[in-house]
């Protein structure tokens, strides 16, 4: 017992669950996709070719530039052509055309533009970029800001809102749901009524109303925290209900009775004895609840009630595509939608896989 054995216990529940998870191909792929997405969010400043707030007035609504690797029939290092703006003499609509006389090679690990901060280090090193002219892989918006850079930096907001929101909801949900299920009586009634109230107002209208409580004069970082608070305020109710049901069942188990008999404090019993027993169940519920937060944030930001400039989030970026004219003339503005879709889908598959892996009943 005293010596640590490096051998894995092949019959431990965790190991068996891990094996079941690995057999679920969509789940494993989704876990990989999520890992990549979060790494992208972490290194967004480095991966983005431009500063997300830098405006390029001479490249407004510029379409995505194609990367070429052949020039005059020969394979060369990747380059792009600069786009020149032309105006239709009759309609005055601007259109961009490739200037094939000016190839601009893409350079890697290039230092340019305003410095960004990475864990406190100020640097202006970017993975790729061009030393003259512009390279906008996904085009620009109405102020000539690089859409790819804004998407990458926006992923920091969109991907963290869900995680932080679920974490806060869970903290409240476990505590109140645990208290509600453990004590019963009038505390239970009060908490149950509260969750019922929160659950019986349709989600989007109350989210919209709550987000208008955030003052317009707040800086965007406060607004970000405010949006998380709004999402958690609505989100904890469903989780508390789930936890309560589980605690009601766990309350009668012998070791809980034993803990009570030796005089352990009630809160200690809830958090130390009952909750760990529900861990796998809670992790699965949290994962499956996450996409709702991502979609909620994107919907609020899309409506102009969520994250505000100069911060970026995927929903806020899609707001630019809201009017029909912009949508038909500048379809590349829809690109952030791909990331919402991919991240929500990945969380759905990942959550399903976790549920299947954690489900003990699936053994027999």
């Amino acid at each position: 017992m005293s010596r640590r054995t490096p051998r894995i216990d092949r019959n431990s529940p965790l190991y068996l669950a891990w094996r079941r998870f690995l057999k679920n191909k969509p789940g494993v792929i989704s876990a990989g996709v999520l890992a990549i997405l979060y790494l992208i969010a972490l290194f967004a400043g480095f991966l983005a070719p431009y500063n997300p707030t830098t405006q390029h007035p001479d490249a407004v609504y510029q379409p995505p530039q194609r990367v070429h690797i052949f020039r005059e029939g020969r394979l060369v290092r990747p380059f792009v052509y600069q786009l020149v703006k032309k105006r239709d003499p009759v309609t005055f609509i601007a259109s961009y055309q490739e200037d094939t006389t000016r190839p601009t090679p893409i350079r890697f690990f290039i230092r340019q533009g305003d410095p960004y901060s990475f864990f406190g280090i100020k640097t202006n090193l970017h993975l790729f970029g061009v030393s003259e002219g512009y390279f906008f892989p996904l085009g620009t918006d109405q102020f000539g800001r690089d859409l790819l850079s804004r998407m990458l930096v926006g992923s920091q907001v969109s991907l963290t809102v869900g995680v932080i929101g679920v974490a806060i909801s869970f903290a409240i949900g476990i505590l109140l749901g645990g208290i509600s299920g453990y004590f019963g009586g009038w505390i239970d009634t009060v908490i149950q009524r509260t969750t019922e109230v929160l659950l019986s107002i349709p989600r989007l209208p109350i989210l919209m109303a709550l987000s208008t409580v955030i003052p317009a004069s707040w800086p965007s970082t406060y607004v970000y925290l405010g949006i998380i608070a709004v999402l958690s305020f609505i989100g904890w109710a469903g989780l508390a209900r789930v936890v309560r049901g589980q605690v009601l069942a766990a309350r009668e188990i012998d070791y809980v009775t034993a803990a009570r008999a030796i005089g352990a404090p009630n809160l200690w019993i809830i958090l130390r004895h009952i909750t760990p027993n529900l861990t796998s169940y809670l992790i699965v519920t949290a994962t499956l609840a996450l996409p709702g937060y991502i979609i909620g944030e994107s919907a609020l930001s899309f409506l102009g009630l969520g994250i505000k400039e100069p911060m970026a989030s995927w929903g806020l970026l899609l707001k630019d595509a809201q009017n029909f004219q912009a949508l038909s003339l500048y379809p590349w503005l829809l690109a952030p939608g791909v990331l919402i879709f991919v991240s929500v889908l990945a969380y759905n598959f990942f959550g399903d896989a976790l549920r299947d892996a954690a489900d003990v009943r699936s053994i027999d």
Binding site: R193, T194, E196, V197, L198, S200, I201, P202, R203, L204, P205, I206, M208, A209, L210, T212, V213, P215, A216, P291, I295, S298, A299, F302, L303, L305, G315, L318, A321, Q322, F324, L327, S328, P331, L334, G337, I340, F341, V344, L345, N348
Partner: protein, 322 residues
Amino acid sequence: MWSFVFRRFLVAIPTLLLISVLIFGVIQLQPGGFLENMLDDPRVSRETVETIRKQYGLDQPVWVQYLNWLKRFAQGDFGYSFLNNRPVAGLIWERLGWTVFLAVLTILTTWVVAIPLGIYTALRRHGLGATVVNLIGYFGLATPDFLVALLLIFAVLSSGGTNVGGLFSPQYIDAPWSWEKFKDMLAHLWIPLIVIGLDGTASIMRQMRANMLDVLTQDYIRTARSKGLAERVVLWKHAVRNAINPLISIAGLSLPNLISSTIIASIVLNLPTIGPFLYQSLLDKDQYVVMALLMLSAILLMIGNLLADLALAWADPRIRYE
């Protein structure tokens, strides 16, 4: 059964009271307000605003305001829209028709499409058709409604169509009903139907598929087959009939989603429903409108859940509310 309905109503009253407190509280927490914003207009003097404030009792303590609002709301007087200079009830009433029309039509379409698809994908589990349908289902569940709307608008616009936004082409909006107007409406209607109904269809379809797969392995299905019943009878009378019951309670649970979807779809597609009205009122802090709409949506949700419970009792003879 009536005693069950009655009891549900009694239970709903305290919940509704708490909801009204929450809604009123949220609106009170909003910084500024419509009357404060009026002061930005140099033609409006502080005295005018104070007079209006007094007229609507907004100068009284918060709890008096709350009680007044609640009393009037219970009597069917939803208050006054400062933005439109009209009572709220009339404004809501004008938009209610299209809202209910869209919601009911979406529910019907959702079920008519989702149930057969659920049965189909359960029976042909590994077929090409089922795989395609399942992929569309995953797409529907993972895409926010507003994104579906944007994609559809883009698809229509880029294929040369113009029937996006609103429910009618401009020339038909005020025209009397005619066959042409009806056709024009149908040409517009499919986009909101898909936008609002896609995620609901996907989830009901998946649920139906799971239920069917569950039911098909039951003993009574084997018994039915072994006593020589036609496969058609086994499928529709034994399997489908039982697989559909759990879905009825899902119908009640899917109502909040439906309301949320209708709101956001209407804002993006510019439909003449409650959605854009709520949105605009929120932005302008037109407080009575917002409170009335939030209360009504909560009441609607409760009625929907009650109806779902009753429908379940009607469809499933094992459930009795005594």
